[in-house]
């Protein structure tokens, strides 16, 4: 029997790693991820988890140690946030290019400066192109579920890619709420033992990560890209199977009251749930408005996304990150995904929720009303934002 317990999201992630029976965790503590490695270290010390916990001296080393562990076929987990993910950055690419199915939880955090330990999606967007499968969580249950699911998908012999599970720093990582934990037998049914076909073994020597001169680098990268795009099939199968066993269903693009919607709001992560409250109020008043959320960020779910937004007139994209000199990164991708579509909605970008700034119900009301104006009349502003004191910095907010 599954049980309903009160669990902080960080502990839910650690619990998922424990139930997945990980073999190796190498992590370096950083706010707001700290509770995840703390809890895992405790589990290993108390004998609740039979794993090697490697207390490394930096995030760069954390991911490097994970590479080594995954290379011998160990089920490998780590977690980081913000600056930690940035320090790890070059090794993050190596994990995907060497096809090591490491699972990493990222408690999304803003990037310095000014120094901020609080949440936004700048760290996630900075690793957008690293070749990891990436998903976003909206609540603690999803943090547990998607961590478990990540092992299954990443380790599938048809996939062999690392998976990043994004959960908002503090807004999820430090929140205690109810989580349904499954039976170990159900987890075992969902997640088979990791059997890595190419594990390093002194009895059968082979080379991992060889030099890639111009004669082979292109082929290696394109082969990687072909395999990465194909991983979507297993991603969907994994969610399907997860739904069958645990009764909770996940989709590449999550929809909320989208039937017949002329206006669609797109959010990612935990603020999606706050947005649902506003969508409910407006729907109940008869407005044709709905909400979508990109669960799957990489590989980008082109077909599902285009299908869902096809009938809308306006698509509002709320970004919690700025690509300097460009705008919101999610907005750029979404608009690009729609460029050749006929018909297609007008796409409006609003930036907010930076560095832990709350996005309240009132903020969502503003986002929707303002975006409709922009869709009709355009915008003369350099940047459309929500919850930013424009006057304070001499711009029209």
């Amino acid at each position: 029997m599954s049980k309903r317990v009160a669990l902080e999201a960080s502990f839910a992630v650690a619990e998922a790693a424990r139930m997945a029976d990980v073999d190796v965790t190498a992590a370096y503590p950083i706010t707001p991820q700290t509770h995840i490695p703390e809890r895992l270290a405790e589990m290993v010390a108390d004998g609740e988890l039979d794993a090697a916990y490697i207390p490394v001296e930096s995030e760069h080393s954390a991911m490097s140690a994970c590479l080594g562990a995954a290379a011998v076929g160990a089920r490998t987990f780590t977690a980081t946030a913000g600056q930690g993910l940035e320090l790890m950055h070059e090794v993050v690419y190596v994990a995907s290019s060497m096809r090591y199915p490491i699972v990493m939880a990222v408690c999304n955090r803003a990037l310095s400066a000014p120094l901020s330990v609080w949440g936004d999606h700048s760290d996630a967007m900075a690793v957008r192109d690293t070749g990891w499968i990436q998903v976003f969580c909206q609540n603690n249950q999803e943090a547990f579920d998607l961590t478990l699911w990540a092992f299954r998908v990443g380790e599938d012999p048809k996939v062999l890619f690392p998976v990043m599970v994004h959960l908002d720093g503090f807004t999820l990582s430090h929140v205690t709420e109810p989580v349904i934990l499954p039976e170990q037998s159900e987890v075992d049914r969902f997640l088979p033992k990791f059997q890595y076909l190419f594990a390093l073994n002194p009895d059968k020597p082979m080379t991992h990560g060889a030099f890639g001169p111009p004669e082979i680098y292109s082929e290696a990268k394109i082969a990687q890209e072909v395999a990465f795009r194909k991983s979507k099939e297993i991603i969907l199968q994994g969610w399907n199977e997860f739904g069958n066993i645990f009764g909770r269903h996940y989709f590449p693009v999550e929809q909320y009251r989208t039937a017949g919607a002329k206006t669609l709001l797109l959010t990612m992560g935990s603020s999606t749930e706050t947005a649902k409250i506003v969508i409910d109020e407006r729907r109940d008043k008869g407005e044709a408005i709905g909400l979508i959320s990109l669960r799957l960020w990489r590989p980008f779910p082109f077909e599902e996304f285009r299908q869902i937004v096809k009938g809308a007139e306006t698509l509002i994209v709320l970004d919690r990150c700025i690509s300097s000199g460009m705008g919101g990164p999610v907005f750029s991708e979404v608009r690009s995904a729609l460029y050749n579509e006929v018909p297609k909605p007008k796409v409006v970008n609003i930036i907010g929720g930076l560095g832990g700034r709350d996005i309240s119900e009132n903020d969502f009301e503003y986002v929707i009303d303002r975006s409709r104006e922009i869709a009709k009349q355009g915008s003369e502003k350099m940047l459309e934002t929500v919850g930013v004191r424009g006057k304070m910095i001499g711009i029209r907010g």
């Binding site: 009160a6 330990v117 908002d168 999820l172 205690t176 709420e177 603020s271 749930e273 119900e361």
Partner: protein, 182 residues
């Protein structure tokens, strides 16, 4: 939905208070969220913790700006921060103080009902430390009764192990000794 803001100082256990009440509510089958004010908190500095309790899944993921109840773990905070910021018209204030609710109401000109208990004294006598969080859970329960005492007892047993009995005593004593002035 009930929203509660806990005012404490780093080390007094405000975050633990909010969490224990949330755990008890979830244990009862309700929905709850608890979370700290987010940041690099320091020992002794004013801190906040937040608690939501509801009969349905809670989707709101922001700080609490208009609490139904504020709980103040240290009387000195009344001079340091505005504990009533955003407090709803029909809200209530629960304070750890040697003073009576009537004295506190007139001293700080509170327009809301005030409940008070000498939680520092109770904590020192029951636990041997001036850590007021469990006593103030008792005071909170007296005012809201949103969660049953038995479920809190269970949570305290789980959290405090050998020190559980002393903390349960502090909670129960504070519950009985809390007085209210409308």
């Amino acid at each position: 939905m009930l929203e509660v803001r806990w005012h404490g100082r780093g080390g007094l256990g405000a975050v633990t208070s909010a969490e224990l009440v949330a755990r008890a509510a979830i244990g009862e089958g309700k929905y709850a969220q608890s979370f700290p004010s987010f940041g690099p908190e320091r020992r002794g500095a004013p801190v906040l913790a937040f608690l939501r309790i509801n009969n349905e899944f809670i989707r709101l993921r922001t700080n609490i700006y208009a609490p139904d109840i504020v709980v103040v773990l240290d009387p000195g905070l009344l001079h340091a921060v505005d504990v009533t910021l955003g407090l709803k018209e029909e809200g209530k204030i629960v304070i750890n103080s040697r003073k009576t609710p009537a004295e506190l109401k007139s001293e700080f000109d509170f327009k809301w009902p005030v409940a008070a208990v000498n939680a520092t004294k109770i904590a020192k006598e029951a636990i041997g430390l001036a850590i007021t969080n469990t006593a103030m859970i008792g005071a909170f329960l007296r005012v809201s009764e949103v969660v049953k005492m038995d479920f809190l007892v269970e949570q305290l047993k789980e959290r405090f192990g050998k020190r559980a009995e002393a903390n349960i005593e502090a909670m129960k004593r504070a519950y009985h000794e809390t007085t209210l002035k409308e």
